[in-house]
């Protein structure tokens, strides 16, 4: 960590809620764009984001737009490989903030030439942003959807990522639309593979849904969608819906 005493003090105040969203956004909104080229300032931005306590839309402009436009990470539409190393390091040190996925996605969409590890870095950032206590917020869902909707097809890594997100957001107040997002991509991943001899994704999905310790509305919806798509499902898998329906009475299945 290389924050100076003033920056550290500012960060501490943000973390304990002593500074309002409005104040933080006003303070950082005044900063010259040249400051974004300063590694120390970028560290402060990531540290503040890691506190997950700034929810104003202005923060997206300051953090995500500011870094994409002014950090120098993108030159001539080429994303500097050092950007991932710096982001990865700051996330390790401070933890992942609300806009951790957003900045990685914004950089990937803005640059036309990306480092070779771009997909794996994005997946890792998404994966490690969900640790069991962070729900899928509207902002996160919007960004995660952008990643999955940009895929030509779902790889096994993508399916593992979906299952991880679902597992790590169980019992939390996820944004409306999450259940359908999860179920749709799980169904599509299985459909994409249905004409191939390799059935590893299908096996992965079925075995995970069968073994799930707490069946959620998202998982029930995924099983229902697979059934409706014409897949012959085992009695064991179908029974997950039956056994969980009573527990899920009153849950909004979010079918839109």
């Amino acid at each position: 960590m290389s924050l100076n005493a003033t920056q550290q003090s500012y960060l501490d105040q943000v973390r304990v809620g002593a500074l309002s969203d409005l104040t933080v956004c006003a303070d950082l909104g005044k900063v010259e764009v040249s400051a974004y080229r300063n590694k120390n300032f970028r560290e402060l931005l990531f540290a503040i984001d890691s506190t997950n306590s700034i929810s104003r839309n202005d923060w997206i402009t300051i953090f995500a737009t500011g870094l994409v436009e002014n950090s120098g990470w993108i030159e001539d539409d080429v994303l500097d490989t050092g950007a991932y190393a710096e982001i990865g390091h700051l996330h390790e040190v401070y933890g992942r903030g609300d806009l951790g996925i957003r900045i990685v996605m914004d950089l990937a969409e803005r640059a036309t030439k990306l480092p070779n590890n771009s997909m794996s870095f994005t997946r890792r950032t998404i994966r490690e942003s969900f640790n069991g206590i962070r729900p899928m917020s509207e902002q996160q869902l919007f960004t995660v959807k952008r990643f999955f909707e940009s895929l030509k097809y779902h790889t096994k890594e993508d399916v593992l990522l979906l299952l991880h997100i679902q597992e790590e957001t169980k019992g939390l107040d996820n944004a409306k639309g999450f259940d359908r997002f999860f179920a749709t991509h799980i169904r599509d991943a299985v459909i994409e593979q249905s004409d191939q001899t390799d059935s590893s994704i299908r096996s992965l999905v079925y075995s995970t849904l069968i073994a799930s310790d707490e069946v959620t509305a998202a998982e029930c919806l995924a099983i229902t969608m697979l059934k409706d798509a014409g897949f012959k499902l085992s009695t064991l898998l179908l029974s997950r819906i039956d056994t969980s329906m009573d527990e899920l009475m009153g849950v909004d299945f979010d079918i839109r």
Binding site: V16, S50, N52, N131, G132, I133, G171, L172, D213, E214
Partner: protein, 184 residues
């Protein structure tokens, strides 16, 4: 009041933000440690012990779940356990325990002193604020590491000798009630 207990129970380590947090146990020594949380219910509700034998749940009570157990053997062993607390408000207070699995089964001291920094318990809230609970008890095989009540996390570090894992719920409940008695 027992001076040692008073000292232990008044040592507030930090304030947690929100009602959700994760508790991580990582260790180097001894071979197999277990992480457990004793959830003391509000008036009229029973206590619940969340541990490897009863991993809890996130969507329903106790809203605490042991997410990852240690896996592997020998040098490949991953010495880490990870507990997710989805809703701490569901309980009046929670006590965090760490015990040496083999020493408890054999009813002997764990001899944690062989490596005073052999284990570390970290509590992380949604603001990525971490509180480290680390002690080096001289005796016992089961440590009452800390207490979470409301949003206050307190370091305790009280060693105890547990002789049976079959009735650990009862023993841990007694253990957890000691600091409470001392504060009365």
């Amino acid at each position: 009041m027992n001076a040692q207990l008073e000292e232990n129970t008044t040592a507030v380590n930090g304030l947690l933000h929100g009602r959700s947090f994760v508790i991580d146990l990582e260790w180097k020594f001894p071979d197999d440690l277990d992480l457990a949380v004793l959830c003391v219910g509000h008036a009229g509700t029973p206590n619940t012990l969340v541990y490897y034998g009863s991993p809890g749940a996130r969507s329903v009570a106790p809203f605490v779940h042991l997410a990852h157990e240690s896996t592997g053997d020998g040098r490949m062993k991953q010495r880490r356990e990870h507990m997710v607390v989805v809703n701490s408000n569901a309980h009046e207070r929670m006590f965090i325990f760490v015990w040496d699995h083999n020493a408890v089964a054999e009813g002997r001291d764990a001899n944690f002193l062989q490596d005073p920094e052999g284990y570390e318990v970290t509590v992380t809230d949604r603001r990525n604020q971490c509180v480290n609970l680390q002690q080096a008890p001289k005796t016992g095989n089961c440590i009452l590491v800390g207490k979470i009540e409301g949003n206050v996390i307190t370091n305790i570090g009280e060693p105890n000798l547990v002789t049976s894992i079959d009735n650990q719920m009862k023993q841990l409940s007694i253990m957890a009630s000691k600091p409470e008695r001392a504060m009365q």
